[in-house]
């Protein structure tokens, strides 16, 4: 029997900073909501090409994205928190991607996986949209063609950091409104 490692390397979710006293613990509502949202992301896999197959490997048992709370995929934008755009987005697909992003419920985040989604990748051609940030705001870019599953999981962890540190009222602030107005999304 392998000797038991004293300090197991599984790092539990650290509790948020807050005031601790005998028997009580106080922290801000933002932090609590942030942790709840970060560890229960429902991704919408907008998988179009090769990155979609690598995403299947990320979801399968070997790399298991379920460890990060993102087990339940939602194919309808109504119940999705995270739009994962994976693969090449052609110009024919642009309006569809923008429509799906607009119909997602707030608060919503976008992870652009792969070089094709982030910048058109090796396909600098007449029919490919050179990067989805031309039509929708993107939070995290994952490089690679296709990125290894570990890189995708690193992108998910970065999204979780974003969610944890985001204040609840960000989505109704004027800066957010005119940032979206720049993309023509009201």
């Amino acid at each position: 029997m392998a000797e038991v490692v004293e300090k197991s390397n599984i790092e539990l979710v650290s509790s948020p900073p807050g005031i601790e006293g005998p028997g009580f613990f106080a922290t801000s509502l933002d932090k609590v909501i942030g942790i709840a949202r970060a560890n229960s992301i429902w991704p919408l896999p907008f998988a179009t090409s090769c990155c979609g197959i690598e995403f299947m490997a990320t979801m399968a048992a070997h790399y298991d994205m379920g460890r990060f709370g993102a087990e339940r995929l939602s194919f309808s934008p109504r119940q999705a928190d995270l739009l994962m755009v994976m693969g090449t987005i052609a110009k024919k697909m642009g309006p569809i991607l923008k429509q799906v992003y607009t119909q997602m419920a707030e608060p919503r985040w976008v992870l652009s996986m792969g070089a094709c989604a982030s910048s058109g990748g090796i396909f600098d051609t007449y029919s490919v949209l050179q990067g989805i940030d031309r039509i929708i705001p993107v939070d995290v870019y994952v490089p690679g063609c296709p990125p290894r599953p570990e890189q995708v999981l690193d992108g998910i962890v970065k999204i979780q950091e974003l969610i944890k540190n985001e204040s609840i009222r960000r989505r109704s602030r004027p800066e957010y409104k005119d940032m979206l107005a720049k993309y023509g999304i009201e």
Partner: protein, 125 residues
């Protein structure tokens, strides 16, 4: 054997009802407050896999959908009446048994009628 069950014995039921109802109300209230509200015309449009929807959904659909649903409700209600019988199965003895059998027999005849009329046949157009 029976303790005189005064109103105090209904307390647990009331507590569970309160907790259940309370959970539903609070979560709806909290999400209503917490969730940012950004209503736009495009967002409120029906989700059609990313393209604009054409035509409306309110067109007549074939009756077999409705039949399947209503027959399920019917046989589901029948099962509900079996529960009290199952609880007091021993004391009701043979008399109760034959009553339930006749009850189920009546519904079984209805079921056979449904099968013969082919109400549940799904593949016909």
């Amino acid at each position: 054997m029976y303790s005189n069950n005064g109103p105090i014995d209904y307390l647990p039921i009331i507590i569970t009802a309160l907790v259940a109802g309370g959970f539903v109300v609070t979560t709806m209230f909290v999400t209503h407050i917490m969730g940012p509200k950004r209503q736009g015309k495009v967002k409120l449009d029906t989700f059609e896999c990313g393209i604009e929807s054409q035509g409306n959904a309110r067109i007549p659909f074939s009756v077999k959908y409705f039949l399947a649903a209503i027959l399920f409700v019917l046989f589901d209600v029948e099962v509900i009446f079996l529960y009290p019988w199952a609880v007091d199965f021993r004391n009701l003895g043979m008399a109760g048994f034959w009553e339930m059998i006749s009850y189920m027999a009546v519904i079984l005849i209805g079921f056979l009628y449904i099968l013969k009329k082919g109400a549940l046949k799904w593949d016909t157009d």
